[in-house]
Symmetry: C2
């Protein structure tokens, strides 16, 4: 899905909601558990969540860790989930939250796994290994790399918010920038706003104004609204562009909103509430 098609979906659904499919068999409703069949337990739960929430959602984001911890059974559940979404909701943007990245020939294998063999539109990528670890994800038309920039966790202070000295570098008019800003500045040259997005944690909304100076047109994937404490209003205030430019993710507050028989209806209600809040924001900013 290209950038224009994604924006069309956002306008059509009046939503920029991404739902994280962080499916944990210890948290899903007990009646959904099938003994000795983690694959079907995960898939059936995902199917119920997707069928209930799809009208309010522009993107789904399975988190790979939650599948890998069930081994190849989990991977089959992931494959079935991705296939189900693409077959039944072809206009949904599908993100593999996998945080991959390695030397070129290895990143090429990861890219093929997620963007070619499986029908994901995008994959999250860790930038530590630099250009040749990211560019293999940019070789597939209509597919995206979503590069970690400034994450929502406490550990973002350890390296991402360290100060890079630019006096010895290539941008002598500035004295310094944060590591995550170097990531934004350098990685832009590897692709375009049509194949690169960035992860920016919602708990870092105060940084969004600065981030928009670095990447005025790129879509940002914003986790951390809800369970991790970020505010949708703050994120929208500093992050929105004329083409929306935001995918705001929520996982736990939607998919685990209830653990009883009505979990899918409760999830639907939560997704709808977020869609309505987003619609008001989009209207207020004259984006729709």
């Amino acid at each position: 899905m290209n950038k224009q098609e994604l924006f069309e979906q956002i306008k059509k659904k009046r939503s920029f909601l991404c739902v994280g499919l962080d499916t944990d068999l210890n948290k899903i409703p007990k009646h959904m558990l099938i003994e000795d069949d983690p694959e079907s337990s995960i898939f059936n739960f995902n199917k119920a969540i997707v069928d209930a929430t799809a009208p309010y959602v522009v993107a789904y984001k399975p988190n790979l860790a939650f599948y890998e911890c069930y081994g190849s059974d989990g991977w089959r559940a992931l494959e079935r989930t991705a296939r189900y979404i693409v077959d039944n909701y072809p206009d949904i943007f599908l993100i593999a939250d996998a945080k991959r990245g390695d030397i070129g020939n290895t990143s090429t294998m990861y890219a093929k796994a997620f963007l070619q063999r499986m029908p994901f539109d995008a994959i999250t990528v860790a930038p530590y290994m630099g250009e040749d670890s990211v560019t293999p994800f940019l070789q597939f038309p209509g597919k995206w790399a979503i590069i970690l920039a400034l994450t929502s966790n406490k550990g973002s202070f350890d390296f991402q918010q360290r100060i890079i000295d630019l006096q010895l570098g290539e941008k002598k008019e500035e004295k310094w920038e944060f590591v995550y800003q170097t990531v934004l500045r350098k990685s832009q040259t590897w692709g375009t706003s049509d194949n690169i997005m960035y992860v920016v944690g919602a708990t870092k909304a105060e940084h969004l104004e600065t981030i928009r100076k670095f990447v005025p047109n790129h879509f940002l994937l914003i986790p951390g609204v809800g369970a991790q404490g970020g505010s949708l209003q703050e994120v929208a205030k500093y992050g929105l562009t004329n083409e929306c430019g935001l995918l705001v993710n929520n996982s736990r507050a939607i998919i685990y909103a209830s653990d009883d028989e009505n979990f899918a209806i409760v999830a639907k209600t939560k997704a709808m509430e977020m869609q309505v809040e987003m619609e008001l924001i989009l209207l207020e900013k004259n984006i729709i």
Copy 2:
């Protein structure tokens, strides 16, 4: 496997060789391909390589990308390979080259996947998201996180070798350090040399002397000898410690040394050649 046990294996086998199981169905001998069965094709090849090379090897390192590009079939091949090695060669150190790392609850899921559900001794971890993305991998006795420090690829210049200004930070007696050195310095405080190793590319042997000032006692996993151009002699000169402290990885030059019927014997010969070179180095340095 703890550090002392690993060192005992190194002394016993007179080798610090790690063989990378980067198993690519486009590169393995044609007679090993079973139609429509990537799982068995991969597993049978790995089994043949492992059975041939195990006497000369202290560690195997499957590269996850090469399994994931065959989806859940590839994951089953990975699971069978790991199980086969642990059941038949319990003294081998088993590394999942997965480059994982995410917020705490997600890293915990990855750690369970590789260090608990599957029998890996260690997993490679990308440090970009900081402390809480790494420490979940340090919670399993005898298991290890192998943190990316300075990698062997060209992209290591993009961020790892940027200059961090320390004047505004916590170490005012020094003016600056590289990003990868900040990673070495900070991450040491999250664990010990009994549960953390570092990835340092062999193509960066000139940095090893400096790296040893930051991490004098930690094991280093060194990829890039062979196909990527690194020199074993250079790596040993600057990287060896009294307890060896090195695992040197070779993938392609061993596992794809031949593509005919005798591939396993040729792989064995290549592994033995490297073991002999390593034995001479260990003797020369009075480590064995």
